[in-house]
Structure formats: C-alpha cells, structure tokens
C-alpha cells in the first residue's frame, strides 16, 4: 500500500494555503507522487494518491507531459518523471545548442544574406557558439569560441536583458523581444538579435544577424521589417526545437 503513505505526506487533503496558486500546488503534489512511484502509477492511482478527481489529475498530467516534466509509457499509460525536469538544474550543452540550431541558422543566413551568430552569456561576456558565414563567398573567419562584449552588441543586450540582473535600460529589449546594435561595437556594422528559449521558457541563447548598417537599418535607424521578422522567426524556430512550447 505504498501510495497510501505517499498520500498522507504529499496529498492535498488539508486544502491549499491562501494566496498560493492551487494548480501549481496540485502539479507539485503530482510530481512528488510520480517521483516516489518509480514509474509504476497510472492516472487513476495518481488521482487517488493526491486526492483529486481523475479528470483534474488527467488535465494536470497532460500539461506536465506537454512541458516535459513527466513522461508517459505509451504501452502501459504509466507516468514517470520527464526529461525536462531532469534537465532543469543543468545548463544546455553549447555543442548541443549548435547542433539543434544549425538548420535554422543556415536558413536565416541564406534568406537574409547576412552572417548569423548564436551566442550564450559567460559572465560579463558573450561567447559565440555558432557562426554561419555571410553567403557571398567572401573571405570570412569562423568565430566560434570568440568572446564579444555584452553591453554593446545586439547578442549581448538580448542576453543581459533576460539575465538575472535585467538592467532597467534594457527593459525595452525585454518587452519588444529583440535588440539592435548600431555601430556601437564596430563602426559601420550593426546587428539584430532575438532570444532563444529552452523548454521552461528560460532564455539560453541569442540568435542574430550582423552586417553593414545600411543593409540592416533604414535611414532613421529602424530595423528593416522583413529582416527583423526573419530573425525573430528563426529564434522562435530554434526555441521550438529546444522544446519551448508554442514558440
């Protein structure tokens, strides 16, 4: 009668504490039950263990399945903890990030005619994780592994805006979902970048194009709309690839 003990410890019989979100409490209770069961329980057992109606437990489990926090054995219907949960505490491997973003980065370079970079934050610097050449066959050097300053590059602004400090001057970047760089880093060149999110919604990287100022922005310094849409779409596509639901 193992799940009876689980119910005594983790169930919801005492009711929710005022001021807390009930469905999150219920989901947490379900996760504890699933973690304790070692993958042996189906929806009926789980509902009984946490003291919820089966339909309520089912809809919570569907959501947890969707975000990757539980997994379901297709043959038996039983639930176990999902890969998304196991990855929560660890950062995404940068080489994995490159492999997963490669097709989208190629497509972005090909359509935009600009060089593409994917970067992650390392302390106060930005490290280039993936680089696709500008498709004009001119001499270019692979910049993977290169560190760039965070404060004056589009990639850096996106990462800082969504980082732990999220400085107020970058509130706009966070709100609009992209950042621009207009010659602050290198005179005459600019960039546009957008955030890449992992399964839980956390920003793990920035993806952007860079090139001549005149090819990225109009005379008033506004990003060319088609190009901006391509960058944002590509960043969404990579996010989806990483399991960020719905883009």
């Amino acid at each position: 009668m193992r799940w009876v003990t689980i119910r005594a410890r983790d169930g919801l019989a005492s009711g929710a504490v005022p001021g807390t979100v009930q469905s999150i409490e219920r989901a947490a209770a379900i996760l504890r039950v699933v973690a304790g069961s070692g993958g042996t329980l189906g929806v009926t057992d789980i509902a009984a263990a946490v003291g919820l109606a089966k339909t309520t437990a089912h809809s919570l489990l569907r959501t947890l399945l969707h975000v990757g926090f539980v997994a379901q054995d297709p043959a038996t219907g039983r639930y176990a903890l999902g890969p998304g949960l196991l990855r929560l505490g660890t950062s995404l491997d940068v080489n994995e990030l490159r492999a997963r973003s490669s097709n989208w980065a190629d497509a972005l370079a090909s359509r935009s005619g600009q060089a593409v970079r994917l970067a992650t934050l390392a302390g106060t610097e930005v490290v280039v994780v993936h680089h696709v050449f500008r498709p004009d066959d001119s001499a270019q050097v692979l910049e993977v592994g290169t560190a760039l300053p965070a404060h004056n590059t589009a990639l850096g602004k996106v990462l800082l805006a969504h980082g732990a400090a999220h400085p107020p001057e970058l509130a706009e970047v966070r709100a609009q979902g992209w950042a621009a760089e207009r010659g602050e880093h290198e005179p005459g060149t600019g960039a546009i970048a957008a955030p890449v999110r992992a399964a839980g919604g956390l920003v793990v990287a920035a993806l952007g194009v860079s090139g001549a100022l005149t090819s990225l922005f109009d005379a008033r310094g506004v990003p060319r709309s088609l190009l901006l849409a391509m960058v944002v779409d590509a960043a969404h596509a990579v996010s989806r690839e990483l399991g960020h639901g719905g883009g």
Partner: protein
C-alpha cells in the same frame, strides 16, 4: 514569371523525404516518413517496398500541398539509398520478397564462391569494381536462387528488377499500367552488371552472375526526362535520378575534376570527381559513375566509403553511456587537450575503404591509467578524421588529382573540433555549404537542369555558398603527419586481431 520550384524525393535507409527547392537552391518545404527496418536473421536487413512507395506518395503529396501554388513545381528528381535490391511482379506490381538492403550481408558466402571462380576477373575488368556483397548484383542473384520459382518466372519475363529509384519511377509512372522501367547510370554502375565504359548491361557479366536480361531496367542518363509521374496529385516530369552519394556530389556542385565532397553520417562517404576519365584503382578506392547529363559523356568519380563515423559517437552515447547526446562528444573531448596516446579503430564489422578487410574488429589502443573519458571522446572524433585521411591518400595515389578543398555535409559537420581535425589531418581547407540537404538538393538540381529551371551546371555552382570554413594550421598539420603512422599501426592491429 512566377518562381519555379523542384520537388526532390530522397529515399533513404531509414526514411523517405520529400522536399521542395526554389531556384536559389533553398529548401522551402520538407516532409518525412520513416519506414520499418526488418532484421529477420543476424546480418539480414530488409525493407518493405510497398511501404516505401506509400511513404513516397504520401510525403510528396503533402509537400506539394505545403507550397503556395503546386503549379509552380515543375519537375521531380529522385535520390535513393544505393544497392538496395527489389524484385517484383510486372503484372500485379507486388514484390516477390522484401527489399534486400545495402547493409544486408547474406550474400557473403555467395560472393566468396563467385570470387574464387577462374573467370572472376571479368567483373573488375568490366564493371570497374571488385566483387563484393556491397553491390546489388549478388543480391539479385540471391533472390533468384532462394525465392520459390523466381528464376523461372524471371526467365519468362514476369519479374522486374530494380534499385529503389527504379521501383519508385515504375510506380510513379503507372506501375502495372504502363510504368516506365528505367534506372539511372549511377545506380546501374553499382550492380556489378554494367560495363562501366559503355554504360550498358554487359552480357558476360550477366552470364557470370546468371541474371536473365529480361528483368533489367533500361539504363538512362541521371539528368534527363525519364517519364511522367501520374501517381501524385499533379502530373510532373521525372527528370533526374541519382544514387544518394552521387546526388550529394551533384548537390555540392563538384562538377570539375578534383572537386570532392564527404558526407559525415552514420558512415562517411567521400566522392571525388575525376571527369570523363575512368580511373583504374589500385589503392583501395572505388571507381564509380558520378553522373551523366543527357547527350553528354559520363562523368566518373572515385569513392571511399567508411562504415563507421557517426555510429562511433552513437556507441559512445548508447553503448558506453558517456554522453547523453551526440553533440556532447565535443564538450567531453574539449575537457582534454589531446588524445592522451589513445586510438579507437571502429572496425565494428570490418573495414571498408581503403582497406577492405571484413575480418578486422574494433579496438582501443594505447590505454594507460592516464587516459580519461575525455581522451576517449577525442580519440573517437579523431578516428573519423584519420579514416578520412586514409581514403584521401588512397584517392590521391589512384587519381593523381590534388584536392583543392573538401566540401563536407551531414550531421557531424556541426562538430567544430572534428572539422578542424579533418582540415589539419588532410592539410586541406574544409568547407561546409549553406544548404546541408545536399542529397535532396542534388536530386532537385538534376531534375531542374533537365527541364530548364537552371541553364547549366555553372548556374548551379553560383547557388553554392560557403557557410563555414576550417583552415589547416601548418604546425598542427605537421604534427598530425608525424602522428599518422601510429593510427596506421592501430589499423594493422585491428586487422590482425580479427584474423582467423
């Protein structure tokens, strides 16, 4: 004029994919469907041709629905897994047995027996390739010998033979109801039944393998209209067909002698264009047909196939559990600065080019207590680089052509450590194109070229753009040249280990 698009079908080993490309050579839509792998006995690998045909129809119809106006799609090209063999009834359209896949090794005994015959020299002399179970002719012979009544029915003209492109073209053009029975010259060259100079079925080779000529498809150029596909939601000219590795060579725009590409997937496949000259090989590469444009002479290539490349990384992940995804091998390898004296020879089921030693078995050499999993990860990546050097050296010895740069594609090309190692080990720049889908792009190019979407191969060349380049560093290149004999010694040991 509205933009014109080309549909490509990439019938591969694990899946069938339909893709649409625009005139810039950019992919605009893709649909994919996997098929079952049948392993009825150890060493046997089979596919269900009916399932593959259904997947082709389905993905092609879907992808035509994905483009805004399917009327703008003007041609269909096919690239296919090579040497996989299908035999079917020309009246019912049903295969007499499942397809024998290129990985299937059931013809090993038959091949040993055939190779021992005093007249076996005719095979290499005429087909350009040594007898090996790798090719489709021996598989066809196996079916004739083992499927009940297959031989007598084939002799009466009731059965048809084909590799995957032949099977799909026949079905696309009507199947039992007027289907066109053709193969392209690249696929035909992999049967051991074709005279590699005249590009015709060779009567002496047919006699040697005891194959009835009645069941063979007509050999056609790779680029040129083969028939009209009537089995899709709109009629389309089938205007190109190539074996998958030749398609990748075409998609990488390797049109000049010396230009070469290497596809890094489960295995690695390096092809170098040798122009209109057929190179007689002595060093372990294979001479093969690269492609043929209708009305033009055949272009040849040298090929070096390596069985295990990405599969070794998969083994590190699934067999040893040292990494949780293939890409993490680079992270693990970068925890150390060198291989710590460790070498991995991935001869899981023998070694293909340039050694051709089926008996070789894998080994890890140079273990000391100093070696960590990081060194092992590095040795795993280096094994793919060293094997590329083995193949490139053999080709250089055979063709005398220099390699200006190696064009790469496939999943492993996102691994920067490996790509830099290849550049240093070859002392040659390694370049990756913007479109990674080189196999399907090659099929699209072939078909589009035939119907005038592109004017000539120079137009295709202009579509090729570099997305990355790894340049050799002189001191690393010198150091790796000095280290290479150690790898060669490890290979010798793996051959000796597997010897009876």
């Amino acid at each position: 004029m509205a933009d014109r698009y080309v549909l490509a079908v990439d019938q591969g080993t694990t899946s069938t994919r339909s893709l649409v490309f625009d005139r810039g050579g950019r992919m605009v839509a893709v649909r994919q469907r996997e098929h079952h792998q049948y392993f009825p006995r150890p060493g046997w690998v089979e596919h269900d041709p009916m399932e593959i045909w259904a997947n082709t129809q389905r993905t092609a119809a879907q992808v035509l629905g994905d483009v805004p106006d399917a009327g703008d799609v003007v041609a269909l090209g096919i690239a296919n897994q090579r040497e996989t063999t299908v035999v079917w009834d020309r009246v019912t359209g049903r295969p007499v047995t499942r397809a024998l896949v290129w990985q299937d090794t059931r013809t090993a005994d038959l091949v040993t027996e055939l190779a021992a015959r005093p007249d076996a020299g005719v095979v290499a002399e005429r087909s350009g390739m040594a007898i090996a179970g790798y090719f489709s002719g021996p598989r066809l012979r196996w079916i004739l010998d083992h499927v009940p009544r297959a031989r007598e029915r084939a002799e009466r003209g009731e059965l048809l033979f084909g590799t995957m492109e032949t099977w799909l073209i026949w079905n696309l053009t009507g199947g039992p109801d007027g289907g066109v029975h053709v193969t392209d010259v690249t696929n035909a060259s992999r049967t051991l039944l074709m005279d590699v100079r005249s590009c015709r079925w060779d009567p002496d080779l047919l006699a040697f393998f005891d194959i009835p000529a009645e069941m063979l498809p007509e050999i056609r150029p790779s680029v040129g209209v083969l028939g009209t596909a009537t089995a899709l939601n709109r009629a389309l000219p089938i205007a190109g067909a190539l074996g998958d590795q030749q398609a990748a060579l075409f998609g990488q725009a390797c049109f000049a002698p010396g230009e070469a590409k290497c596809t890094y997937g489960t295995g690695s496949f390096l092809l170098q264009n040798t122009g209109t000259e057929l190179v007689r090989t002595r060093s372990g590469s294979i001479s093969t047909v690269a492609y043929q444009l209708a009305g033009e002479p055949v272009r040849y290539a040298l090929e070096g196939s390596v069985a295990v490349a990405g599969a070794l990384v998969q083994w590190l992940r699934d067999g040893l559990g040292l990494i949780s995804s293939a890409a993490e091998v680079e992270t693990l390898a970068r925890t150390v600065g060198d291989n710590g004296g460790c070498y991995v020879v991935p001869a899981f089921s023998g070694l293909l080019a340039p050694h051709w030693r089926g008996e070789a078995r894998g080994l890890v050499a140079g273990l000391t207590s100093y070696v960590t999993k990081g060194h092992l990860a590095r040795a795993v990546l280096e094994a793919t680089g060293w094997q590329t050097r083995d193949v490139v050296q053999a080709m250089a010895a055979d063709s005398g052509l220099s390699l200006p740069a190696l064009r790469v594609d496939g999943g492993m090309t996102t691994n920067n450590l490996l790509m830099q190692f290849v550049a240093d080990a070859l002392d040659t720049p390694v370049v990756r194109p913007m479109v990674g889908e080189t196999v399907s792009l090659g099929a699209a190019y072939a078909a589009g070229l035939a119907v005038g979407v592109w004017s000539d191969v120079e137009a295709l060349r202009r579509n090729w753009h570099r997305s990355a380049q790894w340049t050799p560093t002189p001191e690393r290149a010198r150091a790796l040249t000095a280290e290479y004999p150690r790898w060669e010694r490890a290979v010798e040991l793996s051959i000796a280990w597997g010897a009876p």
